[in-house]
């Protein structure tokens, strides 16, 4: 039975959803771009009294700059920077910041692939960035080995399909690392499950799912942590971003509800959230809080429900059946729950078989469901 950990991303010393805050994820371009930024981050770790820290490489920021048509460079001769003008980041900087921050976990530098639907475009994008991703994964791993071997290294997976992942893995399998991290993008939980079982078959002990806090993805992570991996972790900024947009995360389905100033709330709609912030309060109370207090309230509530949901899902992950029963009490989308549980059943049944056989069975199941 492994561990499931949820990392809080997008925090600062003034934006903490609770204290102590157990797990914090920061990234190199934001929190490591200057000695002052690093010093502030270390102060934040201390103030938050956190146990685990995860340093993400900031590949996502590279993608943001690429999509915005801004300059992005990988020049070790230039300083590490992220500004309106552009971004410069290299594996050397990732390790240098890790040396300063001493996180427990570290992601290798990666160049994320764009969200595309056309298969040909996907293949082009994957191949176009494969070289970067292999080179940077290897370089980060070598530098980690030299300079901070005690920090656990996770290699980000940038692929649209399991086959593409296997191709990437072929080129990095000889380097030293502790696990894989995976951006979930548009994948549904049952699609992520296919990747995870592939990782499991490759004896990967640790997996981190980047940037997600959806209910079914969390359920999948919980189940995989209970039965397959030594460690599964996730991170998200949705607790904070939702709060900024006046969105209240439903404690059961983890879907957002708008409680902006223009929303009319019937007084018969009660809060059924057991979090310490919602206790004894009404939606009207939250809605009418002054903006700063409202955002602060929602941040705290949103983070609490995400963390709490993960705990409950982990506790109910004894079997696929118990997980399914619990999910049905939380979420009205029975179709999606059915898809996820069906894939988990296949994976459980075929866990000792070869990966090709598992993939084939899962895809056959998809085809049935599509019909």
């Amino acid at each position: 039975m492994g561990k499931l950990e949820i990392f809080c991303a997008g925090v600062s010393i003034d934006v903490l959803p609770c204290r102590p805050l157990k797990n914090i994820l920061v990234n190199v371009p934001h929190e490591g771009s200057s000695p002052k930024a690093i010093s502030n981050t270390l102060k934040m770790f201390q103030y938050a009294n956190n146990a685990l820290t995860y340093l993400d490489s900031g590949g996502f920021q590279l993608l943001v700059f690429e999509l915005a048509g801004k300059q992005y460079t990988f020049d070790p001769a230039q300083p590490l920077q992220m500004s309106d003008q552009g971004i410069n980041v290299t594996p050397e900087y990732i390790i240098a910041v890790a040396m300063e921050m001493q996180p427990k976990f570290l992601s290798a530098l990666d160049f994320p692939i764009k969200k595309l639907t056309d298969k040909n475009e996907q293949e082009k994008e994957f191949l176009g960035k494969l070289g970067y991703n292999i080179t940077w994964a290897r370089k980060t791993a070598n530098l980690r080995k030299e300079r901070c071997p005690h920090i656990k290294l996770l290699i980000p997976v940038q692929s649209y399909t399991v086959e593409q992942f296997q191709e990437f893995f072929h080129y990095i399998k000889d380097i030293e690392f502790d696990g894989l991290s995976m951006p979930v993008r548009n994948f549904e939980a049952h699609e992520i499950a296919i990747f995870l079982i592939t990782f499991y078959k490759l004896n990967i002990p640790m997996v981190h799912l980047l940037g997600t806090s959806k209910l079914l993805t969390t359920a999948l992570a919980a189940y995989m942590a209970r039965h397959y991996f030594a460690w599964v972790s996730m991170d998200s900024t949705s607790w904070r971003l939702s709060a900024q947009y006046n969105h209240y995360i439903n404690p059961l389905s983890l879907q957002v509800t708008d409680i902006g100033y223009n929303v009319i709330i019937d007084e018969n709609i009660r809060i059924y959230c057991p979090c310490p912030w919602c206790r004894g309060k009404t939606f009207t109370y939250i809605k009418n809080l002054p903006h700063t207090e409202k955002v602060s309230f929602l941040r705290c509530h949103n983070w609490w429900v995400i963390e709490h949901a993960a705990k409950e899902l982990y506790e109910h992950s004894d079997t696929v059946l118990t997980l399914k029963e619990h999910l049905l009490t939380r979420c009205p989308d029975t179709g999606e729950i059915e898809k996820l549980c069906s894939v988990l059943n296949i994976i459980d049944a075929l866990r000792d078989r070869g990966i090709e056989e598992i993939l084939f069975a899962c895809r056959l199941d998809y085809a049935d469901m599509m019909i």
């Binding site: 300079r147 005690h150 690392f177 078959k201 018969n268 009418n288």
Partner: protein, 380 residues
């Protein structure tokens, strides 16, 4: 005839050069006020300040009686309506003030809609009173419609939500925006029955008062402390007690310094101090660094293979490296002039060097394992 200069020379307003006579400034204060039926044709409008677009909420116009004239300050629409209804008189609230020039009339016309008739109260009183009104209206069994505004007591704007309706009543009846009402309620939240009167008692005899600026500054700290208390699972009454105590403490600081220290910064400084106290002073500094930075459940994943060029380390080399690091840190600890940047630099460099030592240790350990056949390959 006499010109002005001659009058001045004959009747000087001072006794001798340099000795000015004290002139009592003309005060245009209201001598008395009364309601009376005034002839409509006697009421003049005042155009120095345009009439208000919104109609007055008063039942009768307010007029100024000065120099024998009746000048309308507010409610001209009521006079026009009375004229159209061909009434001869209209009941007015008459303010009497002697010899008002146009400037004074203008000020009065503007003030009718800005300053309350009975003057303003302190910010804290507003907070206290709005909080009390809110609780009163939330608890009332009366139909809320009857508390709504003047001519609009039909409750058309009401929705099926008492909290919202009470806020609406407070906003319209007190002439504030709903956001301002929310702010008052928020500033009054978690102020105990003890804290509110204690703060109130400071109002009459203090130069620094618990004003809006104070509450706005204090609110940010209150929020952060509330996050801490809720995280600790404290019950609501304890949270109120602690936050009230903290508000009083902040007000003391505000009186002394005119500012309030940021809660996060002060807590961060405290935790830094505590952390420094916890570090074993007598131990070798290198040990402290290791204790501080290396994870307790440290385990090294060996991967597929150890690189062959890294197998030539000896334990004595590592010991020598550690000795150098320890010496440097000892020197630093005894250096009275060492400032924070220098200490940070040394500590960082030491961690880096220790990390390399650790890597060498693990490499030696791996080599031993390999010789003994203990290394497992975990990936396909």
């Amino acid at each position: 005839m006499f010109n002005e200069e001659k009058i001045y020379l004959i009747q000087p307003d001072h006794v001798s050069p340099g000795e000015m006579t004290v002139q009592v400034p003309q005060a245009f204060s209201t001598t008395h006020e009364y309601f009376d039926d005034i002839n409509i044709n006697a009421v003049e409008s005042f155009n120095g300040i345009s009439d208000y677009i919104g109609e007055t909420i008063s039942q009768c116009p307010t007029v100024l009686n000065t120099l024998g004239r009746f000048i309308c300050l507010d409610g001209w629409n009521l006079i026009e309506e009375a004229r159209q209804a061909q009434l001869e008189t209209i009941r007015c609230l008459v303010q009497v003030a002697d010899n008002c020039p146009d400037e004074e009339i203008a000020i009065r016309k503007v003030a009718t809609r800005i300053i309350p008739a009975n003057g303003k109260c302190s910010y804290l009183e507003t907070v206290r009173n709005v909080k009390a009104l809110y609780q009163m209206l939330m608890a009332t069994r009366e139909n809320l419609v009857c508390f709504h505004h003047g001519g609009r007591r039909r409750g058309n704007e009401f929705i099926n939500n008492k909290e919202e309706n009470v806020r609406l009543i407070l906003a319209t009846r007190l002439g504030k925006s709903p956001n301002t009402i929310s702010k008052y309620l928020n500033h009054g939240e978690h102020l105990s029955d003890y804290a509110m009167p204690t703060l109130m008692a400071t109002i009459p005899d203090q130069t620094v008062k618990p004003n809006k600026q104070f509450f706005e500054k204090a609110q940010s700290n209150k929020n952060k402390m509330q996050v801490d208390l809720k995280s600790e699972g404290k019950p609501e009454n304890e949270i109120t007690e602690k936050l009230s105590g903290y508000v009083l403490q902040m007000f003391d600081e505000y009186k002394r310094t005119g500012d309030i220290q940021n809660y996060t910064r002060s807590q961060a400084a405290d935790s830094e101090d505590n952390h420094a106290e916890k570090l074993p002073v007598e131990d070798a500094p290198s040990d402290s660094i290791a204790i501080k930075f290396l994870p307790k459940d440290f385990s090294y994943y060996p991967g597929n293979q150890a690189s062959p060029e890294q197998t030539s380390f000896s334990i004595n080399d590592i010991k020598a490296d550690i000795a150098t690091i320890a010496t440097n840190l000892c020197d630093l600890s005894q250096n009275q002039n060492a400032q924070l940047p220098e200490v940070t630099l040394y500590v960082t460099a030491s961690i880096s060097a220790l990390s390399q030592c650790l890597q060498k240790c693990r490499t030696i350990d791996l080599t031993i394992q390999q010789h003994e056949g203990g290394n497992a390959i975990w990936v396909n």
